[in-house]
């Protein structure tokens, strides 16, 4: 009896929380869908995420080499044909989706976390904290990131999307941090924050209740931009032949096709599938970020 009561109380509570979250998400979505660009961009990215989750279950990847089947033309059984080892290209691309997206989302979460925390700290506290953080940011902005990625990828073993994401985040937080800092500084000077200070509200309250909500949309845009950037970086690293931990990752497929020789039209076609997949994701992410930007700053729309 006690148990069921507890259970029902627990249930209503969780339901309430879900309702609250649901309402928040609903507002976010209605806002996003009011703009055509962000609606299209978001739908495409959502499709990618669904493919990454559901795809491998429907079309599991089979890595048994069967050279008798090499370079088969597209057919019902092999929608994208097969490669030089007789492997199904369609299943490779599907299986690679989750690998690529994992890197992208991990990087985005890590960079956003680091960039936002340090950006707010730098902008809000100011003084020597600001100077120290900005100096560090400057280093990461002036050291060419890509060669360092390559050096690190060669020196450390990168075998999972998480290590890859960790590595890419080392550089990708810096730009965001600087941008957040500028936002926080301008917010700090704004009237309503000044009023909060005069009213002697706690710093925590000001940061979490007053500043953070104003940064949210800004962070959302940057999240999408970092998604783009991290896919570029991870595929780029794989194109050099490093960090090929997953043979179905798009970068690895492209690199393998390149190594097989682009004189052969079959290899070119194999390379094009993941390449087009990347391009579509890039365009979708660009549309989403621009659309979000427009809904957030309506005056941009005039341009």
């Amino acid at each position: 009896m006690e148990k069921t009561k507890n259970k029902s109380a627990f249930l209503t509570k969780t339901l309430e929380i879900f309702k609250k979250i649901g309402r928040g998400i609903k507002i976010f979505f209605t806002k996003m869908y009011s703009n055509k660009k962000s609606a299209i961009g978001f739908s495409i990215i959502l499709l990618y995420v669904i493919v990454a989750i559901v795809g491998p279950l429907l079309f599991p990847y089979d890595s048994t080499v069967n050279t008798a089947n090499k370079y088969l033309a597209p057919s019902l059984e092999h929608p994208f044909g097969t490669d030089w080892m007789g492997l199904d290209v369609f299943r490779q691309v599907i299986s690679g989706t989750s690998s690529v997206l994992q890197v992208a989302f991990f990087t985005a979460f890590l960079s956003i976390a680091l960039g936002t925390v340090l950006g707010i700290l730098s902008g809000y506290v100011g003084g020597w904290v600001d100077r120290v953080i900005m100096t560090i940011v400057n280093i990461f902005l002036s050291v060419p990131s890509f060669p360092v990625y390559l050096m690190m990828a060669a020196l450390f073993t990168i075998e999972t999307p998480i290590t890859m994401a960790l590595m890419i985040s080392i550089f990708s937080w810096a730009g965001l941090c600087r941008a957040i800092r500028v936002q926080v500084i301008s917010l700090k000077e704004s009237d309503f924050i000044q009023i909060c200070r005069v009213m002697n509200m706690s710093t925590g309250h000001i940061i979490f209740k007053e500043i953070m909500p104003n940064l949210f949309s800004y962070i959302a845009v940057n999240f999408v931009l970092i998604l783009r950037g991290s896919i570029l970086a991870s595929v780029g690293i794989m194109l050099v032949g490093l960090a090929s931990y997953n043979p179905t990752d798009w970068g690895v497929i492209i690199q393998a096709a390149r190594m097989r020789g682009l004189m052969n039209v079959n290899n070119v076609i194999i390379m094009l599938y993941p390449l087009v997949a990347i391009l579509i994701f890039q365009i979708a992410a660009l549309m989403l970020s621009q659309g979000l930007d427009e809904t957030i700053n309506p005056r941009l729309k005039v341009l």
């Binding site: 100096t135 560090i136 400057n138 280093i139 002036s142 050291v143 060419p144 890509f146 060669p147 360092v148 390559l150 050096m151 690190m152 060669a154 020196l155 450390f156 570029l232 780029g236 194109l239 050099v240 032949g241 490093l242 492209i254 390149r258 020789g261 682009l262 004189m263 039209v265 070119v268 390379m271 390449l275 990347i278 391009l279 890039q282 365009i283 660009l286 549309m287 341009l303």
Partner: protein
Amino acid sequence: MEEKTWNEEAKRPSAFKRAGRAVLRFFKKNEYIFSKIGFSLLTLALTTIFLFFLLRQIPGDIVDIYAQQLQYSRGLPYERAYELAVQLLNYNPNENIFAAFFRYVGGLLRGELGESYLQEGVSANLLIEQRLPWTLFISSVALFISFFLGVAIGGYVAQRRNGIANKIASGYIAVTGAIPDYLMALLMVTLFAYQLKIFPSQNNFDIFTVTPGFNIDFILNVLYHAALPILSSAIIQTGYWIMQMRGSCIGILGSDYIFSARARGLSERTIRKKYMNKNALLPLVASFGVAFGGLFGGSVLLESIFNYPGIGLEITARITSKDYVVVQGLVFFSAAMIIIVNLIVDLIYPLIDPRVKRG
């Protein structure tokens, strides 16, 4: 100045103090310059530390590998070879971390960026000397072409925002903004070099048919080999510069001084040249400088896709062959160049924009 101070000090005891104050005033007066220089030096120093720690992650005893190589090639006893290796690599695994760091910095200060421990006689300096001209050639030509095209087109469409040209420009910006330059390069090299075979797929010139020097055959051959890399990089970058220039111009066109210039009866040509372009270009000149600084590291993927022997290709090749000390030297060089060029941009900017106060 130093001497004068000393002379005065001999005459009057307070002269030293006054000279100190004068020096202080000199620093205060040029605060902008000194703070910029100081900040750049600090960034450079921290970059060095960062690379030093990365270097220490190299697996295996690189000094030992190099010493063995020297032992064979020069016929030295192992101890002598080891000493020589330490000296050449600026690195001694037996030292503590601070001594190692100072040895490393000492090498950089002497201008020795990094010796290869795999190939005797090869160093980062040598590679920079050989490869930098090629890297700068393709990347700066691409940058200049795209910058001037972008500025011209961006300025044009900003004034005709309802025209068809602006729609086309917007589409171009969107497409080129979504395609990364190296995928563009990959598509170009596949189509024009591997499939259609109209353009070469590797090298900076054909060593068998032309002789380097100032002759027309050589120049044409170099341009023929550089065409695809320049084109693919310029196509992507142009979109970026159009976007920057258009945005900058639209901001300027809405400003009060454009309205007042029109009210003063100035011709549209004057307004465009002296009012819009001059003001809109200022921030772009700064970004151009920053972009130029980035050229010194070479475009790693672009060069490796076209097999174009620049610094970028060298970095990928040396990473694959695990020649990390050289890679580190090349990375340090490009980081240093970015920092230096940024500093130069910061120092020059007040001269072109009267609003930024200098000193």
